[in-house]
Amino acid sequence: MTEALLFKNIDEPGLSTLEVYAKRGGYESLRKALAMSPEAVLAELEASGLRGRGGAGFAMGKKVSFLPKGSIDKYLVCNADESEPGTFKDRELMQKSPHVLIEGIVIASYAAGATRSFIYIRGEYVHQADVLDAALVEAREAGYVGEDILGSGHSLSLVVHRGAGAYICGEETGLLDSLEGKRGNPRLKPPFPANQGLYQGPTLINNVETLATVPAIVAMGGERYAKLGTETSKGTKLVSVSGHVQRPGNYEIELGIPSREIVYGLAGGPPPGREVKCWFPGGSSAPVLTADDLDLPYDFDSLARAGSMLGSGAIIVVDDSTPIIDVALKVAKFYAHESCGKCTPCREGTNWTVKMLERIDSGEATPMDIEIMASVQEHIIGNCLCVLGDAMAMPIGSMIAKFRDEFEAHIEQARAHSGLGASPVAEGALV
């Protein structure tokens, strides 16, 4: 494994203070960047190949380049909502190394020509928001944030904005509405935030980890950074591993290493005597993979080719002690609860899927219901304003496809248990 970039010295006592962060070379990248032209900094970001770490994996440098040029008011928003189930990497980073995020934001704002910035942090992260606020006071006093930063002529305001509990505010346009003081309903795209974002102005919006990687890129140069990882997934990535593993937690890996090395090598795999049944490679919105997929390289394209996604880098492992129906119900209930209700396929489809799964569990369903449930998922995908509906339909669809036998067996067992007897389909009546 290569050197840790984001997690370097992460547990050093006092790293959250400017004093220790500066001793470790903190804000040197900012000095270096401010001595360059904004275009040159942007060129480094593009050369690095860095892809967004919040879920969609869009090239960060390209996103910066989409912002209109000129002296109009531009905004930078850091997405610290981190509410995709299974994801907790931004939390550890912000809590232990808040200055690396602040430094990344200031450099990115310089490249993008943004003069106002916000960190939208989920309201539940009380401690992390306090840590950020304290770090921000230090950064302002040291002249790294504010007017005419280090005499460069670049100015930037930065506000830590606390959310109030709503998964959908992690979706970038829902987040922008929430930041404007409204209900966090997603907006229709286009227009994209780069053209019309916060207060209708051009807005760069990136995940915490994406922005926190910027200082390392400036320090080592985009080209050197691009040597890490694979051809299309450059660099290192923080992965949050949870569920049935012996050493759950955050790990910084080089993109492209075998998934098995993360699940077993780093996180210790399931408890003794247990096997991996399925795993979500990128948060609970990602279609599940099985033990057969553990040799896949952990990078954006390999996981996409396997029908899933890297998403936020959250690996959730489920071992063979857990019925698949339990997993499906948890996932479906979450999205039903978090649907903002704006689009019918999402609002109705998520609720309906929960009811269907409950029927399966209580023994009221027949195998035909599996067909119907699978087709509901297909009807949700691509028919909603944002991808929250898809975020349920994709993992549920994958569970039905990969564990159909288990669903069917569960239906028969539950029917027998509830006294309804074998389903008509099982008896051959409907076949």
Binding site: N9, G165, N250, Y251
Partner: protein
């Protein structure tokens, strides 16, 4: 998602003239007014302060009561109905009266794989009928590494067992540090490799 409180809406729409009078904010406690105004000053459009302002008012009033919402509305210069609609969208803004100690027990996927549903039931039963506690099952709180976990008055603790529940509630009630041995903030990163050789060699 929205747990709509009809009483709140009705009052916001059809309050008495004094209640609807957004020009006489005399009832707003000075510290609360100051806090809301400070938030408003941070944004190009002061309406952005809605969430922090409601959160501040909730801290003072215990929940986003009609009074709390009217006070925020009067300081921010928006209608109470607007803020009531905002408040119902967010899980952390309470639109019904609740106990002063919040206990959010995560029951999402990673925690449930470690027994979160039983944990939630144990907490709920232990606090049953106690008006001091606001116990709620919650979506993933972003701490699946300490599953199963809970956030007690904003402080993350885990991994929890049902045996921890009485002590957890007692600590909260007494205003003590909750389960000091189970606090998230005291944990090292899982990645052994992260803390570099430099550190171990003790360079300055």
């Amino acid at each position: 998602r929205a747990r709509v409180n009809n009483a709140l809406f009705a009052r916001a729409r059809a309050g008495t003239p004094e209640e609807n009078d957004t020009t006489s904010p005399a009832a707003v406690a000075p510290e609360l007014r100051k806090e809301i105004e400070a938030h408003m000053a941070l944004y190009p459009d002061s309406r952005s302060a809605a969430l922090p302002a409601l959160e501040a008012a909730q801290r003072v009033h215990g929940w986003c009561s009609p009074e709390a919402i009217e006070q925020v509305a009067s300081v921010m210069g928006v209608t109470p109905a607007y803020l009531a609609a905002v408040a119902t969208f967010y899980d952390m803004l309470e639109t019904e009266p609740v106990g002063k100690h919040s206990v959010y027990v995560c029951t999402n996927i990673s925690c449930s794989l470690h027994g979160a549903d039983a944990l939630y039931e144990a907490v709920r039963d232990a606090a049953d009928g106690d008006p001091e506690f606001n116990v709620r099952p919650f979506e993933c709180l972003g701490a699946c590494d300490i599953a199963p976990m809970a956030s007690v008055d904003g402080v993350y603790v885990g991994p929890l067992t049902t045996e921890d529940v009485p002590r957890m509630l007692e600590d909260a009630r007494a205003g003590r540090i909750v389960l000091p041995d189970k606090q998230l903030t005291t944990r090292g990163v899982a990645d052994q490799h992260a803390n570099s050789h430099e550190l171990q060699e003790g360079t300055p």
